[in-house]
């Protein structure tokens, strides 16, 4: 149960981080919809796009972490069950 609670809090933080990152990507997209005609303005818009790309990479990394989270939960459940069985047997 102890592992379960720890991983639940990890899951909560991961979920929160994912939704905040997605929201940040949406907000950055609205900068690109503004008018940037000069070289300086275009360079700024391009840097905003680069940040967006970095955040997309971050969401991918978080997606991978999410898939390992479910594996970790299963793994810890199995461990807890085994410890419980041993205690019952003794």
């Amino acid at each position: 149960m102890m592992f379960q609670a720890t991983l639940d809090s990890v899951a909560f933080q991961l979920d929160d981080a994912q939704s905040t990152t997605r929201f940040a990507i949406e907000q950055l997209a609205s900068i690109n919809s503004l008018t940037w005609r000069s070289t300086a303005g275009k360079a700024f818009a391009s840097e905003v796009s680069q940040l967006s790309d970095r955040l997309i990479a971050l969401t991918k990394a978080l997606g991978e972490a999410e898939s390992y989270l479910s594996l970790a939960i299963r793994e810890m459940n199995a461990l807890e069950a085994q410890i419980l069985d041993q205690r019952m047997a003794s």
Binding site: T6, A17, T20, T21, F23, A40, G41, E47, A65, E75
Partner: protein
Amino acid sequence: MGYDVNYNSLDYAQSRQICQQVYGQLQDVQAQLLRASVRAQECQQQSQNQCLANGIANYGYAVGVLADKLRTGYHHATEAVIDARRLEEKVSAAIENYVRAETRIENSILVSGKWQILADLWNNTRHNDSRPPTQDMESILKLFVLLSSPRDRFGFARPQPEMMHETTQNLAEFIKIWGPLRNKELKLSDSGPVEKIESDGTVNTFYKLHQVLNDAGPEEDGKILIAEAEKDGKNVHLVILPGTQPDSDGQNPFDTYGIIDGFGLDSENFAGPIAEALKISGAQEGDEVILSGYSQGGIHIANLMKNKFLGKKFKMKKMLTFGSPIGHIDLPEDIRSLSLEDSKDMVPGTDGTENTRKKDQITVKFDGPRIEDQLDDGLFGKPHDLDNYGDHLKEMVENPVPDLQDNLREFAIPPGPLTYRKFKIERKERPKNTKHEEWEEEKYRMGR
């Protein structure tokens, strides 16, 4: 990043706001991922300890990988935070560059055109009953402040409205601290009986209420008026503040010294007595209050629209001014204001700044009085007479411009009888031996 030649202040401001928000959000993400990876690592460690203690084959591979992935995410987030911060700094620098460049150009235009400004001032004042019209008043004050401020002329120039506001505020604060009335505070001293007046169903009712105060004579100086109306089934309280009453004994808060309160104290000393008068009038917390001021009264009400004490007690979202210099007061976006200015009136220009126009904050300018022969000359000339502004208001109601329809409707008071009361506010000696008093005395002594 310099600033875009196609600079659009709204786009830049929006970009800066977004970058600031994204920066804050990414900092949150960074902290969450750090916490999550630490928790996952702890979980892996504890599982390994449990395995060891119970003689079980090693578990914790997936948790270990999870911790690694979260750490990778944390590193991505850290780099993104740095990028977002850099973008925010760049766009802020671009805005600053633009403002500085524009200010330098505005200042150089002002200085290079000084002889023209003086010639215009001379000519226009000659043809305006020896009083400078609004725009000339603003220009000459701006020029005077700019020429007397080496910092703005040769160094780090402030935007002109900021330069004017800070100069008048510093001057007002200086007079406030060293002036003879520094130990006085405003108190509500008297409340009159309930009286009635007829509303014609339009915004003209505000002028009628101002007229009640204005026509009362010097024995009623220092009084404000609070009327109660019912609009859309809800109680609305109208607070009316008069203009400058120069011939006073030092106790009248609307004397020339009152202008110092408006420029130097943000009229904060008016908030208490007005809240008390509203309470006596029967205003409940949360009731709507519409403020209206003529001349100096307009400065006070524009300041009070930002007053936190009054804003917490009442719903204050609308204000109406007649011939008031309020260009230096930056009202929040959600305030609806209607300001009337006569271009031949010098008073609205005495803060050296034009009123800012926002979505619901409109200044209507008129090209001089229509009824000059019926107006009083007074201290500031016929264009500043309250009756002139009453006539302009009437003109607006009779020939409404489409852009103003919303405002005229919002400020219209339903037809029928209105009740009102007058309240006297006086400057009184602040009680002695308070900490504030000691502090003020000490400051005064040190200064001498």
